[in-house]
């Protein structure tokens, strides 16, 4: 029986398709990686709600208020309660609800100045619209007393439409 002449050539697996697939998987995990958005805070354990709706992308300026609960983080380090105000590039750590109210009042003035520039926005402003949307991200373990202080600060600053953020439950 005759043996082919190239019988001494080493058999090599073709690794290129495997590499292609692995790179695609790497790409997938990179895109889906949990990058913490600047305006949110991963320390906040949000409550659950079935009726929670996703915010429309076309809404204007948003104000995020994060209220964390004191406790240990994932590395076991004690973390105090924090209250932060975040409106676009402005991010302020507020010591209490009074400081938060001051920040909200400043933002309200900015909203008003912006609305006065265009006549159509002015009409919207007069009708009680064209204001920033206030989104409260508060930890589910807080008592209502603390939540109410924040809501009172929003109301005192002039914001009446509030969005409470929650984890969306699937029905």
């Amino acid at each position: 029986m005759s043996v082919p002449a190239n019988h001494d050539k080493a058999a090599e697996p073709n690794l290129t398709p495997m590499l292609d697939m692995v790179l695609q998987l790497v790409m997938f995990f990179m895109l889906c990686a949990n990058f913490i958005a600047e305006e949110t805070n991963a320390m906040v354990k949000l409550p659950d709600a079935s009726a929670a709706r996703i915010l429309d992308k076309n809404t204007g300026q948003t104000i995020f208020i994060n209220l964390t609960y004191p406790g240990k983080d994932k590395f076991g380090v004690d973390q105090p309660k924090t209250l932060t105000f975040n409106a676009g590039v402005r991010k302020v750590a507020c010591g209490n609800s009074l400081q938060l109210q001051t920040e909200l009042e400043n933002q309200y003035k900015l909203d008003e100045t912006r609305a006065q520039k265009k006549p159509e926005d002015r009409a919207e402003w007069e009708a009680g619209r064209a204001r920033s949307i206030v989104i409260l991200r508060a930890d589910q373990r807080h008592d209502y007393k603390e939540i109410n202080e924040i809501l009172a600060a929003c109301r005192a600053a002039g914001y009446r439409d509030i969005q409470l953020r929650a984890i969306q439950l699937k029905n």
């Binding site: 690794l15 290129t16 009726a51 209502y144 984890i167």
Partner: protein, 176 residues
């Protein structure tokens, strides 16, 4: 003139080392798989805060039917759950949903059904949807606050206001 004869060299195939690249890709993939945590979808519950003082004048025509207003209250103290009450504006006797340590979910279900019934009646009568103010005690957990607001939204209420129990100024009796 003597022509130089070009020396023929055997053609070499470019050999790209795939194996180290594959090793690195596997390491990258392992890193991303280990750090991968799908983010739960976050949504919003839209609320309208109640007026701080006197109510603003209504621009609705006097001929238009005013929406009914309901006030619900809940105020557990020291971890002991309290009853949920639901009072329609103008009525004196509130509906009470008994809440004890064992039947919290039953009381919540009854409350949800009562809210749904109010909305259904209004829709049948083709009247304006009622407003709901929920007053919470100091010690109510935020998760429970959201649960009640969630139930009200699911029942069909659109205008919901949260408030602190006892903060609403008492209504003055009408002059005779």
């Amino acid at each position: 003139m003597r022509r130089r004869r070009r020396q023929q060299t055997p053609a070499t195939e470019p050999d790209l080392p795939i194996t180290p690249m594959l090793d690195m890709s596997f390491q990258l993939m392992a890193f991303f798989i280990l750090t991968f945590r799908p983010v739960p979808t976050e949504g919003q519950l839209a609320l309208v805060l109640p007026d701080a003082g006197n109510t603003a004048p209504s621009f609705a025509s006097p001929l238009e039917e005013k929406p009914d207003a309901y006030v619900a209250t809940v105020s557990p103290t020291g971890g002991v759950p309290s009853d949920i009450t639901l009072l329609k504006d103008g009525e004196l006797e509130p509906k009470t949903f008994k809440m004890t340590a064992g039947n919290q979910s039953q009381a919540m279900n009854d409350f949800y059904k009562a809210l749904g019934e109010i909305i259904r009646e209004k829709k049948t009568a083709k009247g304006p949807l009622p407003k709901l103010e929920i007053q919470f005690g100091d010690e109510v957990r935020y998760q429970f606050v959201i649960k009640m607001l969630d139930d009200a939204k699911l029942a069909g209420f659109e205008k919901i206001s949260p408030n602190l129990l006892g903060k609403t100024p008492p209504k003055k009796p009408l002059a005779p």
